[in-house]
Each structure stands twice: as structure tokens, then as C-alpha cells.
């Protein structure tokens, strides 16, 4: 028989959404986001478990190991809130919330890392840097808008989708087509990066290489240097080492009167 426990309200899920921005506040190597998950779910748990002892016991469950991509954690938070609701109201008293979290965190971690870190972020950065190199002061704003429309929009909706679908990750992937979108962002990023190199002669005055070469030659020299640096990175050079190397080469050229 179902117990008399309050169902979750929209405001509770909004509370979970707000707290999801703090999910990594105490990130550590061994527990990663475990405490953050419990913290984010607290508004929902408080509604479902007015009894302090029971609340504490549910908090103990949610402070166990947890790690996923921080934005897609919203989906798991929504699903976990729903599972806790099912459990607390007695509809599914034996529901294993830990198993649900464990099953979701690895696939969503891989999906989110590839989509957000591996494609959306480089796309927004490439677009912003391309615009910045023209001398436009509003490039940082462009970056934030391009990135956060997707980031905040998804983070918000995923709490509610996770709650309503009870953590249907296949449905989520079909709905948003993350893999297809990621590929498009990656290709566009590469095209924009190529364009950055191709327009080197038209960069703003603070960025344009101060080398006396005609525009077509400068573009070709820029491409050659980019490809050479790509090759060096491919064989194991790090950006820091290449920066030091570039600085040393520039100094040698300046001392030799070449530039």
C-alpha cells in the first residue's frame, strides 16, 4: 500500500536545476562529484523525506561514488529525483536508485565529454577567436552566447526530461542526436580554423603578423607554419614547449635582423 508522501513539485525540480550548477564545488580525486550529487538532489529529498533519519539515510546513498559529465548530470538528477519519488510514495518501494545512477553515469559521461568538451566548446571558441582576430571587441560575448544557449538550455530541460522519462537514455539520444550534432560542430570548427589561417593578412592591427610579406605569401606562410606545428604536436610536442620554441625562434630572427 502506498505511503502518504508528498509528490515532487516543479519548484523542487527547479531547485535541483539551480543546485546542479554547484555539482563540482567539492570535486576530489576519489569521490569526484558524489557530494555534489547529494547537494543538488537535496531539495527533492527534503520534500520526499520529512523524517530526518530517513533523509540522512537517503543522503548516505547519494554520497556514494558518482562521476559523469557535469552538464548531463542534470538528466541523472531528474531521473534520480523521479526514482526517489517512486520509492518514497511506495509505488516502487524497492527501486534501486544507486543502480540507476551507475547505469547512466558512464554512457552520459562519454556522450557529454564528446559533445560539450570535444565539439561545442571548440566550435564556440573557433568562431569567437575568428571574430576577435578581426578586432571585434564583442567576440567574448559571442563565445558566451554560442556556448551557453546550448549549455544552459540543455541543463534546464534535462532535469525535467530525466524526471519524466525516468532516465531513458536511448530516448534522450534519439531526441537530441548528440553524435550527429557533435560531428557537425567539429567540421565547422575545422573550417573556421582554416579560415582563420586563410585570412591572416586581414587580422586586426593588434594581431596581424608584423612581417613584411605580401598578403598571398603571408597566408601561405601562415598555412605552412600551422601545418608544421600540427606535425610537431602530432609527434609529441606540447603547446608549452612549442610556445617556448616559437619565442626562441622569433628572438633568433630578430637578433639576426630577419624580422
Amino acid at each position: 500500500m502506498a505511503r502518504e508522501a508528498a509528490a515532487l513539485r516543479t519548484t523542487d525540480l527547479l531547485g535541483v536545476f539551480w543546485r546542479s550548477f554547484f555539482i563540482q564545488a567539492s570535486w576530489s580525486y576519489d569521490r569526484l562529484q558524489s557530494l555534489g550529487f547529494a547537494f543538488a538532489l537535496l531539495t527533492a529529498l527534503r520534500r520526499l523525506y520529512p523524517d530526518k533519519a530517513e533523509l540522512s539515510s537517503r543522503l548516505a546513498v547519494h554520497t556514494e561514488y558518482f562521476n559523469t559529465q557535469p552538464y548531463l548530470a542534470s538528466f541523472i538528477l531528474g531521473a534520480a529525483a523521479r526514482a526517489e519519488e517512486e520509492r518514497a510514495t511506495g509505488r516502487m518501494p524497492d527501486l534501486d536508485v544507486t543502480e540507476l545512477k551507475t547505469n547512466l553515469m558512464a554512457p552520459l559521461g562519454a556522450l557529454g565529454d564528446s559533445f560539450f568538451w570535444g565539439s561545442l566548446k571548440p566550435f564556440a571558441a573557433a568562431a569567437a577567436v575568428a571574430v576577435l582576430l578581426t578586432g571585434a571587441w564583442w567576440a567574448p560575448i559571442l563565445f558566451l552566447v554560442l556556448y551557453n544557449i546550448v549549455h544552459v538550455g540543455l541543463r534546464f530541460s534535462l532535469v525535467f526530461i530525466g524526471y519524466s522519462t525516468q532516465g531513458d537514455v536511448l530516448g534522450l539520444m534519439t531526441r537530441y542526436g548528440f553524435t550527429r550534432l557533435a560531428r557537425r560542430y567539429k567540421v565547422m570548427s575545422l573550417a573556421i580554423v582554416g579560415c582563420i589561417v586563410g585570412t591572416v593578412s586581414a587580422w586586426g592591427t593588434d594581431f596581424r603578423p608584423a612581417i613584411a610579406i605580401p598578403a598571398p605569401g603571408l597566408a601561405i606562410a601562415g598555412l605552412a607554419l600551422t601545418l608544421a606545428l600540427t606535425g610537431l604536436l602530432r609527434i609529441g610536442a606540447t603547446p608549452v614547449k612549442l610556445m617556448i620554441g616559437l619565442a626562441a625562434a622569433c628572438l633568433a630572427c630578430a637578433l639576426g635582423g630577419i624580422v
Binding site: F21, F22, Q24, A25, S26, W27, S28, Y29, L35, A38, F39, S57, L59, A60, T63, N67, K121, P122, A125, A126, A127, A128, V129, A130, V131, A136, P140, F143, R183, R184, V187, M188, S189, L190, A191, I192, V193, G194, C195, I196, V197, G198, T199, V200, W203, D206, F207, P209, I211, A215, L225, T226, L227, L233, P239, L242, M243, I244, L246, V259
Partner: protein, 255 residues
């Protein structure tokens, strides 16, 4: 050199770094901590937007694909961008001084492994927090979870704050020495800064493509070069054309 006004400005830079650094992992991750935003924001607050724009623009692409996957902690580009901008803004005789910007960038970038180590130590120390939330019966309490979890923000803030507080004064001392060097050093740093976006381009190409001569990269290059040099289109139009070309290209291949 370090009068009361300068000390206040260095402290202000460290506070800015502490707050912006929170966005990197601990709070929100709205990407305010990315160099392309953190640099100009710091520059604007310290009175040299140009330095911030140049530093942010040059550093952004270099580490953009260093991904925080699992327990990997990527290079701290936020401290590098904020500290380099602060050193350039406070240490140069005029705003937007490219040689000083180049030298500041070089110094802070060299210190990146140190900032990564500080990050590593702080995260290792955070491992104690889950033990602290437990009450005497061994179960976590609501107040314990909330209080100790949010206390983690202080640790993240302090890490960026102290890194910047150490880097900026040291950088200012070195910049004052740099300004006494022969003109060739200034010229070298000027050229160095303007070549860094190409390193950023190489860094992105390296991570997004398996090939050195990537077809999409070369198409973007041709679109950019032809649009600007032959068609005399504004650069922004070339960027839109290249992005649209990439979108259409990937669609036509069925992705």
C-alpha cells in the same frame, strides 16, 4: 615599483582570478573562465582591454581541446590568461603594448605546470571533505552536506587567488627587467604574439583531425583567403561562409 596603489591592483587581480577561476570547475562552468572571456574581462577591470583581448584571443585555441575527462586535470588556462593580462596591464608603459604582452604570456605559460600541480594538490585535499559531512552515527547530515560541499568553493577560489598573487608580482619584476633589454627583444616578442593564433589553429587541427593535411581545414583556408584577397569581402563574411561550408559539407556526407 610596489607602492600602495600597485599592491591594491595586484590584490584586485588576484581576487578577479579567484572568482573567474571558480567557473573553471567548481561553479557553473559557463566558460567565463576560458581565456577568450577571462582575458578581456580582466583587462577591462584593470584598464587595458586590448591586452586582455590579445592574450585571450591568442591563448584560447591552444588549450581548448584539453578536456577534463575523468580525473584528468587540464592546463590551467584561466590563471595563465588572467595573470598574463594583469602583468601586461600593470607592467606596461602604455595600453596594448605588444612586446610586454608577449613577454607576459611567455612567463605565465611557462608556469602552467606549476598551476596544474597546485590544482592537483587542492583536489587531493578535497578528498577529506566526504568524511567531514558525517555525523557521529556515521551518516551524512543535511547541514553537513550543504556546508562542507559549498566550502569546496573556498578551496577552488583560494587556489586561483594565490597562484595569481604569486605570479603577478614576480611577472611585474621580470617585466621591468625586460624593458631594459635591446630593441631586438621587443621585436621578437611582438612577432611571437602575432604567431600564437597559428599555434592555436594547429592545436585544434591536431585534436579534431587525424590528418595533418585535413580537407576541411584546407577548404576553410581557401574560402578565407579567396574571400578576403580576391573578393575583398569583410573577414566576418569569410568566417560565416567557411562555417556554412562546413555545415553543408557534413550534411552532404550524410552525417
Amino acid at each position: 615599483m610596489f607602492d600602495a596603489h600597485m599592491i591594491m591592483q595586484v590584490l584586485a587581480a588576484a581576487v578577479i582570478c579567484g572568482f573567474i577561476g571558480l567557473d573553471r570547475t567548481a561553479l557553473g562552468q559557463f566558460m567565463i573562465s576560458q581565456p577568450v572571456v577571462a582575458g578581456p574581462l580582466t583587462g577591462w577591470l584593470l584598464g587595458d582591454v586590448t591586452a586582455g583581448l590579445v592574450i585571450g584571443g591568442t591563448l584560447e585555441l591552444i588549450w581548448v581541446l584539453d578536456m577534463p575527462i575523468g580525473t584528468f586535470v587540464p592546463a590551467d588556462s584561466t590563471v595563465a590568461a588572467v595573470a598574463a593580462t594583469a602583468i601586461a596591464a600593470l607592467g606596461s608603459p602604455m595600453p596594448g603594448d605588444l612586446p610586454v604582452i608577449g613577454f607576459s604570456l611567455l612567463m605565465t605559460v611557462v608556469m602552467v605546470p606549476v598551476t596544474m600541480f597546485a590544482d592537483h594538490l587542492m583536489r587531493k585535499r578535497n578528498a577529506q571533505i566526504p568524511q567531514l559531512v558525517l555525523a557521529s552515527d556515521g551518516r551524512p547530515t543535511e547541514a553537513g552536506v550543504t556546508g562542507w560541499h559549498l566550502a569546496g568553493l573556498i578551496a577552488f577560489f583560494l587556489k586561483s587567488f594565490f597562484m595569481c598573487l604569486a605570479l603577478v608580482p614576480a611577472g611585474l619584476v621580470l617585466v621591468s627587467g625586460f624593458q631594459m633589454l635591446p630593441a631586438a627583444f621587443f621585436r621578437a616578442m611582438e612577432v611571437f604574439v602575432t604567431l600564437l593564433p597559428l599555434l592555436g589553429a594547429a592545436s585544434v587541427a591536431r585534436k579534431l583531425s587525424m590528418k595533418i593535411l585535413d580537407k576541411t581545414l584546407l577548404t576553410g583556408f581557401c574560402v578565407g583567403a579567396v574571400s578576403v584577397q580576391l573578393l575583398h569581402l569583410p573577414e566576418i563574411a569569410a568566417i560565416i561562409l567557411a562555417a556554412a561550408g562546413g555545415w553543408v559539407g557534413v550534411r552532404s556526407h550524410g552525417a
